[in-house]
Amino acid sequence: MKHFTFRTLSLVSMMAVLAACESPSKVAPTAAVPVETRSPVVSAAAAGGTSAGAATATGTPQSGVSTVNLTPRSGAGAGGAAAGSALMAAPTQRVVYFDFDSFVIKNEFQGLLDGHAKVLTRTSGKRMVIEGHTDERGGREYNLALGQKRAESVLKSLSLLGAPEAQLEAVSFGEERPAASGADETAWSRNRRAELKDR
């Protein structure tokens, strides 16, 4: 019983890993929101106020804030990855790496892009998104734009290789989704990338 459950769980988590393609290497605590360190306000009534006659004022505090809670999307992309790779033998390589401050696609990635372009050309219903990233140095908004340039650069290459642009979108995560944590060139070089994902 336990063995069966474990196998199912590991199968599910493997699929989740394939679907997600990248996760920051940090361990996430399960608590959603950090605990505030304020001490609770002591109610005056509890502190020995006079008797049951003391009323509690109701009313809305000034400048209240409503919380919107977003839950993680479940199973996003899991189906697409499985179906696409089985039929079309799409390249398993999905990441293009870049030099510092550069959007130039180096020769070593041409084969990867060629492979994806062929799949896209042959399968008119296949859609992909190219996600551009930067390393963590610099401002977030500027890095968002740099990441976008990297993604656009890959999109242009795919398009030149014959892939229809209508099946592609280039987006950016800037420095928001590092593949590697750390403040050295090893980590930075792994973060300067564009990832190709099925939609």
Partner: protein
């Protein structure tokens, strides 16, 4: 602290006159003390770290408010931290036992180094609300300057203390205080991101949005009721606008590619945003109510991080059209672009002061990212910090303080600084990474 300089007081002091302008007339030589690092453990929650001493600080004596320990909110400590964070005051602790009805011995307080005295009380009313009262005395002239009473719900006691600090600030400096305003920022804990709204001391935090994906670039609407921000919840950057009180939210920019860097026009009707739409990032304006974007910049470079000037006539932004990113300015209706920053090869994240005359931004120098202040039209910026990883400056609505994010041992924290860089305080931190601060407007 010994005062050496002669203090010249205004000859006639009208109690009804709105402003006092003390800093312009009196100078304290506080320079012998190199730091005033202050951290007191009162109840373990309120921890203000102040470093640096300003040239002109009004000494104000402040006693604990009578009955404040009964209500569980340290009103005097909140007021003290606010006054000191402003950079305009140095607080002398008074002993408990005073309140607004006391007969105060003002010459004795003056003898203890105080130019002003604050004492008050908080009383629980029969209907469960609280009456916060205080008086502000001029210890030099020997008369009362302010006497106030505020009746508030228990949940608003902190806010009442902030309002008291603001009133004292305005009465003694002539400028409105900002401690009853709010700051929005993003907190990252592991894989969870939350958009928080807090008091400017970092306390009283409430969560506006909790998300498994990153949130960046929060921006307050001019009326303080809405926040625009960038959320990656749809697996790409899109701009949302959310009503802070109700939580109601909708996407205002979700075009092809990335949508980011929202900033409000001063009339609250439009947002300037950065859209990529298949090309490099360019500035567009969109109506807040929704609708088609109007392109504002036309370059082949990255144009982003736009902010309107307070008079609405210009938009300051970052562009790398000249090679590295620099701050430029364009008329809000479009047209010719003027360059604003000239020092250094990487200048980003502009914030413009409420009077439109000062620009705070981040410069990269030899790999370090530092907060700079530039008078618009001048060429020589002034560094405000000596830290290496500053980000996201935002002016307070009275133009006297800037909040920014920086890296400290243990994580990213938020700091405020006076415009001379001399008084810095750290906002209460929870240990998680705090970033992307945006200072809200007056009129909470």
């Amino acid at each position: 602290m010994r005062r050496q300089a002669q203090r010249a007081l205004p000859a006639v002091q009208e109690p009804t006159k709105k402003t006092l302008h003390w800093p312009r007339r009196r100078w304290l030589t506080a320079a012998m003390s190199t730091t005033a690092a202050l951290a007191w453990p009162a109840r373990g929650q309120l921890r203000v770290e102040i470093s640096g001493v300003g040239a002109t600080q009004i000494p104000v004596a402040l006693a604990p408010f009578r009955e404040e320990s009964q209500v569980g909110v340290a009103l005097a400590a909140i007021i003290k931290a606010d006054l000191e964070r402003s950079g305009a005051f140095r607080v002398i602790d008074g002993e408990a036992g005073l309140d607004e009805r006391s007969t105060v011995d003002l010459p004795a307080w003056r003898g203890r180094g105080a130019d002003a005295l604050v004492a008050g009380s908080v009383l629980r009313l029969a209907d469960g609300r609280f009456d916060v009262r205080y008086k502000l005395w001029d210890a030099v002239r020997g008369d009362q300057l302010l006497g106030q009473s505020k009746v508030v719900l228990q949940a608003d006691l902190r806010l009442a203390a902030h309002r008291v600090a603001d009133e004292i600030h305005e009465r003694l400096t002539g400028d409105k205080g900002v401690f009853a305003t709010r700051i929005a920022y993003v907190l990252r804990t592991g894989k969870r991101y939350t958009l928080h709204v807090t008091d400017p001391d970092g306390e009283g935090g409430q969560v506006a949005l909790a998300s498994p994906e990153s949130i960046i670039s929060p921006a307050w609407s001019p009326d303080g009721k809405k926040l625009a921000y960038v959320s990656f919840e749809t697996q790409k950057a899109a701009v949302w606008v959310q009503d802070v009180t109700t939580g109601e939210r909708r996407m205002v920019a979700n075009f092809r590619g990335s949508n980011s860097a929202p900033a409000w026009s001063p009339d609250g009707q439009r947002l300037v945003v950065t859209l990529s739409q298949g090309g490099p990032a360019q500035l567009h304006t969109v109506p807040v109510a929704g609708g088609a974007p109007t392109r504002l910049t036309t370059s082949n470079a990255i144009d982003t991080e736009a902010v309107y000037s307070p008079d609405g006539r210009h938009v300051y932004f970052v562009s790398d059209r000249g090679g590295g990113p620099q701050v430029y300015r364009i008329a809000a209706t479009g047209g010719a672009v003027e360059r604003i920053t000239f020092t250094g090869d990487y200048n980003i994240s502009p914030s413009i002061s409420p009077d439109g005359k000062q620009l705070a931004y981040i410069t990269r120098q030899a790999g370090a990212f530092r907060l700079m202040l530039l008078e618009v039209g001048a060429t020589a910026p002034v560094p405000l910090t000596d830290t290496r990883d500053d980000e996201s400056p935002s002016f307070a609505p009275n133009g006297r303080l800037i909040v920014y994010a920086t890296r400290a041992p243990g994580g990213d924290v938020l700091m405020t600084t006076t415009l001379d860089g001399k008084i810095k305080t750290r906002l209460l931190s929870t240990g998680a990474d705090m970033r992307e601060p945006a200072w809200g407007p007056f009129g909470r």
